[in-house]
């Protein structure tokens, strides 16, 4: 069987979708996909170094830069899900009633409730910082000890958040698939601002001849095929749909 290596972000892997897609790819394409589960930054770094054949990430701006550097031949959107705010069940900041993501963030800032940030420059972290910015706030200037940058992956940050009983900004898939929920629950979701697009970027074989372009092409076509798009749409945890496929047919 052929094999390729693909770097994916922790949040994608934590969703569990890979456990469905990988066996299907093996069956349909006779292709072994070896996943490297790393942070967004590291995933792109692996791509830049030519050590993987493709990356699947969710950080638009960083992806554009990656493309501009000529590391990938193109960027293909596959699906999206959304980001959510989770927090302690008693919701000390009262974000459950917020009307927008910005309002929810502002509420947290006002109540000085513990907020655990990824703080690792990942796609999720970048989105969070964007929302603070839109709310006119700058985490660097927060006083008091309530805003905590944990500097770790999604799973580790959730563990920390649960341990501290604090709010965490996460993607829906990671949260639904997360086992150590403790006393926490999903408190806010739904703002279009929280839209989270995943894109597939095959590495440029002009830069690294060892890259298996034919296979990444095959994989990309397969991911965007109606059958797989349907599979993605039907993937559920606890009765909730996690991803919305949105690949545009070529």
């Amino acid at each position: 069987a052929d094999d390729i290596k693909m770097a994916v972000t922790t949040s994608f892997h934590n969703s569990g979708l890979a456990d469905v897609l990988l066996p299907a790819a093996k069956k349909d394409l006779n292709l072994d996909i070896y996943l490297l589960i790393v942070g967004t930054g590291q995933a792109l770094k692996l791509g830049r170094q030519g050590d993987v054949d493709a990356v699947l990430v969710h950080a638009r701006a960083a992806e554009e830069k990656f493309l501009a550097g000529g590391y990938a031949t193109h960027r293909r959107e596959i699906m999206y899900n959304d980001f959510v705010l989770i927090g302690p069940k008693n919701d000390p900041a009262g974000i459950a009633k917020a009307k927008s993501a910005i309002e929810a963030f502002t509420d947290i800032e006002k109540s000085k409730s513990i907020f655990v940030s990824r703080g690792d420059d990942s796609g999720t972290n970048k989105k969070e910082l964007l929302i603070w910015k839109k709310a006119g706030l700058d985490p660097k200037k927060f006083v008091g000890n309530w805003y905590r940058a944990s500097g770790s992956g999604m799973g580790a940050t959730l563990n920390t958040g649960v341990g501290m009983n604090g709010y965490v900004f996460t993607d829906r898939a990671s949260w639904l698939n997360f086992k150590n929920k403790g006393d926490m629950k999903l408190l806010y979701a739904g703002d279009p601002l929280l839209f989270n697009q995943y894109a597939f970027l095959p590495i440029n074989s002009a830069k690294y001849p060892q890259v298996k372009s034919d296979l990444t092409k095959k994989l990309e076509d397969w991911l965007c095929s109606p059958k797989v798009q349907k599979m993605i749409g039907e993937y559920e945890i606890a009765g909730q749909q996690l991803f919305t496929p949105n690949a545009k047919p070529k």
Partner: protein, 234 residues
């Protein structure tokens, strides 16, 4: 390769500018590991001596287990400690999770078997020499342990330094119980991991070089202070 040379440059940059952040996390690294090694030595060295002077039924098994515990996987230690210290755990009321104290506890657990096991190994040879004499003088078990620890202090150094090395470079456990929180529990190793996950390899390598230099400096300092390997010692 560029990353390597960039890393070396980054290390120099950090050191020469005495980067404010670097100083902070380096000091925290040292504080955590020194505390852990102090506690581990206080318990582990006497335990090693005790193992050297005592013959009991399950001694071999105890030693084998102690050896095995030297390889305690940090992630598992961190995880178990997390479960115990978390709010819903039995020691939740102490509010220790995500504090340097929790990191010290984690490192102590990891270092202790190393210190104890290597201390035992070092003192076993000395006990072999002293055995008859100390029994003949009718020393108590405590006095035997005391004599071994005192007269074997030079060879105990390796045990302590090995533990120190293990602690200062450790990440799996302190990441989980410390949480790598900026200005609170971030230390050199967790900072490196963070830079790696950001794909910022030069900075990560730079911090790594600082960490290794720190370890080497401390080792040389301790060797010089304790004058091991002085020509005169044998």
């Amino acid at each position: 390769m560029n990353d390597l040379s960039a890393g070396v440059m980054a290390a120099f940059g950090l050191i020469f500018n005495l980067d404010h952040n670097l100083v902070e996390i380096s000091l925290r690294s040292l504080a955590v590991t020194f505390s852990a090694i102090a506690i581990a030595s206080l318990i582990g060295l006497p335990f090693g001596a005790w193992l050297a002077v005592t013959r009991f039924r399950y001694r071999r098994v105890t030693i084998a287990i102690l050896n095995a515990l030297m390889g305690l996987p940090p992630v598992v230690v961190g995880l178990v400690l997390y479960v115990l210290l978390s709010r819903s755990g039995p020691f939740g009321v102490l509010n220790l999770l995500f504090t340097p104290t929790a990191m010290i506890i984690a490192q102590t657990i990891l270092i202790l078997p190393i210190v104890a096991s290597l201390a035992h190994q070092a003192l076993r040879e000395l006990w072999f020499q002293y055995h008859d004499l100390l029994i003949s003088i009718n020393t108590s078990k405590w006095q035997r342990m005391g004599a071994l620890l005192l007269d074997g202090r030079r060879s105990l150094l390796t045990a302590v330094l090995t533990g120190f090395g293990r602690g200062i470079g450790e990440i799996g456990a302190i990441m989980i119980v410390g949480g790598n929180i900026d200005h609170l529990t971030r230390v050199l190793t967790t900072a490196i991991a963070l830079e790696v996950s950001k794909g910022n390899f030069p900075l990560a390598i730079g911090l790594g070089i600082v960490l290794i230099l720190l370890a080497i400096l401390i080792n040389i300092a301790i060797h010089i202070l304790s004058r091991t390997e002085r020509e005169g010692t044998w």
